[in-house]
């Protein structure tokens, strides 16, 4: 029995895991200005060079939650390899979030005459090393 225990402690075990995670959600509804129109300077702001930019236009919100953003989805892959001995475990983990680099919408804003979309997370790789003893 003692011999079997010693033989077991001397063995090195290697484990590897591959996992995938896919998230999907339909696009959420937001309130987005659809139109804009000519504005006038507010009282006594004519001739002021400090606030001229917001004289030009006013935006119009036709209704609440009038726009549905594109569907939200991304795929995450990860591969983990662990090497275990009697007294320690070494684990390497490689993962790739948002594998196909989908730029899911977070919010929109207007810059000049162009509407812009901001996304939070593009493709993100990560590597981790864990040592347990």
């Amino acid at each position: 029995m003692w011999l079997l225990t010693k033989v077991f402690e001397a063995c090195i075990f290697t484990f590897s895991y591959l996992s995938a995670n896919f998230n999907f959600a339909s696009g959420k509804y937001i309130t987005l200005a659809e139109q804009e129109y000519q504005a006038i300077p507010l009282p006594l702001m004519e001739g002021s060079r400090y606030h001229a930019d917001w004289f030009a236009t006013r935006t119009l919100l036709n209704s609440v939650n009038n726009y549905q953003m594109p569907d939200f989805h991304h795929l995450n892959l990860s591969y983990r390899i662990a090497r275990k001995t009697a007294d320690k475990t070494i684990t390497w983990s490689f993962s790739l979030n948002n594998v196909y680099n989908r730029l899911n919408s977070w919010y929109y804003y207007k810059k000049g005459d162009q509407m812009k979309q901001i996304s939070l997370f593009p493709i993100i790789p990560s590597v981790s090393f864990t040592y347990r003893w």
């Binding site: 400090y50 606030h51 119009l60 730029l103 812009k116 790789p125």
Partner: protein, 287 residues
């Protein structure tokens, strides 16, 4: 073999540097174009109006002016005249509107629905003020004053907008709000905390005073200002008052760091169109 793994890792990490989190987008909003009328009546000036067409949010050009419309103005139900078309959508009528009169405007154009709106011109604010010199500011040389402004409110619903203006080195500097101002009837919608100011808060762009609870009474506002400027008290009718307040709210929303805020709808009293038809009367205190 190790070089291959290293090469793959470099490719993956390098790919993360290329994509940007911001991109251009387009929308397929299909809203009908409407007339946009902007006209503010003031007893101290002749009547001017600006007429343009609305545009989509991805408007890449300036708003198209409308020069071939017929704009008719009515005073207390009686036709006053037709505004003369200038250029770039500007219309004029050589007439000074009178306080406490009701005005209605009608815009007629064959391609769009008739646009109408009405307003009442308020009276000029009855204001007295008492300045008290606090200190001399040497660079530039001017005096810092504490001013008690007393507004004799007229019976009925009134709202007033305080606005500062000063000229330094030939440059007109406007707005910015008020730092050292105190009164119990100031609307706090544009107030923000500022520990460095005298009372711990400042008002951005304008100070709005409402006579709710003080109808027909004398309202005293204590503020501080320099001697190279003026304080303007604008008495706005209810439509123009709502327009200014919603515009300032929308402006304050756009200045913040966070993109997620409750949207602000700009007020409009134009039927079948956009814009504003309002009235105001201004009293200026020169310091």
């Amino acid at each position: 073999m190790r070089r291959n793994y290293l090469f793959i890792l470099i490719i993956i990490f390098g790919e993360t540097l290329l994509p940007s989190c911001e991109k251009d987008v387009t929308f397929d909003f299909d809203r009908p174009v409407k007339l946009s009328l902007n006209c503010i009546l003031n007893p101290d000036s002749t009547i001017t109006a600006r007429l343009t067409l609305s545009g989509n949010i991805e408007n890449n050009t300036s708003f198209q002016p409308v020069d071939d419309a017929t704009i008719v103005l009515y005073e207390n139900g009686i036709e006053l005249g037709t505004l003369t078309s200038g250029s770039e959508g500007n219309y004029y009528l050589d007439y000074h509107p009178e306080s406490q009169n009701e005005y209605k405007i009608a815009v007629l154009h064959p391609d769009y629905k008739d646009v109408t709106a009405s307003t009442e011109v308020p009276q000029k604010p009855d204001v007295m003020f008492t300045p008290d010199t606090l200190e001399l500011i040497e660079h530039p040389e001017l005096y810092w004053l504490e001013i008690n402004v007393v507004i004799h409110d007229l019976p009925g619903k009134n709202s007033y907008w305080l606005y500062g203006k000063r000229t330094m080195d030939g440059v007109v500097r406007t707005g910015g709000g008020f730092q050292n101002i105190k009164a119990p009837f100031i609307d706090d919608f544009n107030r923000r905390t500022d520990p460095e100011s005298k009372f711990g808060y400042v008002y951005d762009y304008y100070v709005r005073i409402s006579d709710i609870g003080y109808d027909g009474e004398k309202m005293t506002v204590m503020l501080e200002a320099a001697t190279n400027g003026s304080i303007n008290i604008v008495s706005a009718d209810e439509h123009y008052d709502k327009y200014i307040k919603s515009s300032v709210k929308a402006r304050l929303n756009s200045e913040g760091d966070l993109p997620f805020k409750e949207p602000v709808q700009i007020y409009s009293n134009i039927e079948n169109g956009y814009g504003i038809f309002g009235a105001c009367a201004i009293t200026t205190i020169k310091l």
